[in-house]
Assembly symmetry: C2
């Protein structure tokens, strides 16, 4: 390949999309190869620290609030009264931190197959792990699919699938039968959420298929919420919620209004706005 990335920059090429995003870096702080993936941490010039897994941007200090807030608060305010929460993936602990802001949550179990991600977050991203000592938090490092299989029926209120892209270690989390397994362990009224890639690039493919697969797995309600995420492909990202006897088109907006969770992006009004898809997405997602 004749493509030589720029000196002094971390560049992620989105090959299928013919696009790339780059951040100027000043130092590489970590470079480890775990049994699962290649993990790097950089100091950037203007985006704080940058975590990279298998060459893909996972997060930067500067903009991870968008993703982590949107992967946690919409699903938690959609459930009527979430007490038992599970995060599959999410080893950087940013989603965990947001979930723990909800006082009604009694237990959060985070299951990431790769302990190195959490160790790197502890060393280099102190704000992301700042709530890890909360007694309601349980951190496990094992296969999330197996954990789900060993989990009793209807025992979970909210599931958050905070995975990498649907290749590599996270591939199994995007398969239809995994969604059926999630459906099994969710209690009636339960909700799950999965990151669902770019509205510009993936509406007619990954997002459409995920929504179809969620319905096929038994979920009776599905909602895709777009949000900005500057350091992910196209700078525009989405999460997709699926409800089990829970309407994902509505949420506890009064609670979201009155909660004082010290948020940067999410609000009740933003949730309401994000529930309305742009016309081009609506047309591509007609079921």
């Amino acid at each position: 390949m004749s493509e030589q990335p720029m000196d002094g920059w971390f560049t992620e090429v989105f090959d299928q999309q013919g696009s790339a995003i780059a951040l100027r870096v000043t130092e590489k702080l970590l470079d480890v190869t775990s049994p699962y993936q290649h993990l790097e941490v950089f100091e950037t010039e203007t985006h704080g620290r940058l975590m990279v897994l298998d060459g893909c941007v996972m997060l930067t200090d500067r903009d991870n609030f968008l993703y982590h807030e949107m992967m946690s608060h919409p699903v938690l305010f959609t459930h009527a009264a979430p007490k038992r929460v599970v995060i599959i993936g999410g080893g950087d602990c940013g989603t965990l931190r947001e979930v723990l802001k909800h006082p009604g949550v009694e237990k959060v179990t985070q299951i990431d197959i790769d302990e190195e991600v959490t160790r790197a977050a502890e060393r280099f991203f102190p704000t992301l792990v700042e709530r890890n000592d909360d007694p309601r938090a349980e951190l496990l490092f094992e296969d999330g699919v197996k954990w789900v299989d060993n989990c009793p029926d209807e025992s979970i209120d909210v599931m958050i699938i905070d995975s990498t892209d649907p290749v590599g270690p996270a591939e199994g989390l995007f398969k239809t039968d995994f969604l059926a397994r999630c459906h099994r362990i969710l209690a009636p009224g339960g909700v799950m959420v999965q990151q669902s890639e770019s509205p510009l690039y993936h509406t007619g493919t990954i997002i459409r298929e995920l929504r179809r697969d969620m319905r096929a797995a038994g979920f009776d309600s599905v909602a895709t919420l777009p949000f900005p995420q500057p350091t992910y492909p196209s700078g525009w990202w989405s999460c997709t919620l699926a409800g089990k006897g829970c309407d994902t088109a509505t949420f506890r907006s009064n609670d979201a209004d009155s909660a004082d969770l010290a948020l940067e992006y999410y609000s009740s009004a933003l949730h309401q706005g994000a529930l309305v898809l742009p016309p081009f997405m609506r047309r591509q997602l007609v079921e």
Copy 2:
């Protein structure tokens, strides 16, 4: 500079932000230097054609609908009954096309200093110029600031400042006294809109200053609407509306609902959602 862009890619480096966006290109279709700026058109692999001015992405076929719809429909549905519309800049004619979708508009004057941009759009972006033959459209190639100065008081309903960044030929369009000149030519109930850069990068600087300058110029109402724009810095962009005896926090939502304008991104619900700023923006924009 040791930074060598990747072969086969068009790369735009956002130097102050320490970030960059790149698109894989297959052919350069145009390279001209006008009296005002350096204009290039590329064929990209996956984003259709790409127009570049002085090294900055102006638009691609694939994602320009976001910017052009948000620069036109929110301001037009905010005005009670817009008849006389002026576009300063906008030589690619994409905003003009959107404005002409509104049947109530009686005349639209587009004033771009650089005729080369429109000639390039005619050659390489046929969809953008597809409404240029509309008898309501007037295309002028002259200095927008001078045009405004020669325009009678209170004669315009809607002004759209569709400019490049606040450096180079567009610098004068970001100065306070230009806003006062716009205010003078707007009729009572008039509204203007200006592109206002990235919510992530510029909320505390350009956006904040523009809003302050708009109020200083006599506008009594200001609203900033964020929207995704994948090929602009951070992939997240904004426009800021200013009203002259017109409340920019409300709009003709029923008309927006019932209009059948063949849009991809804008809808009444999206407008409503975009009016609510994320908490981090609200905090930085407290006036």
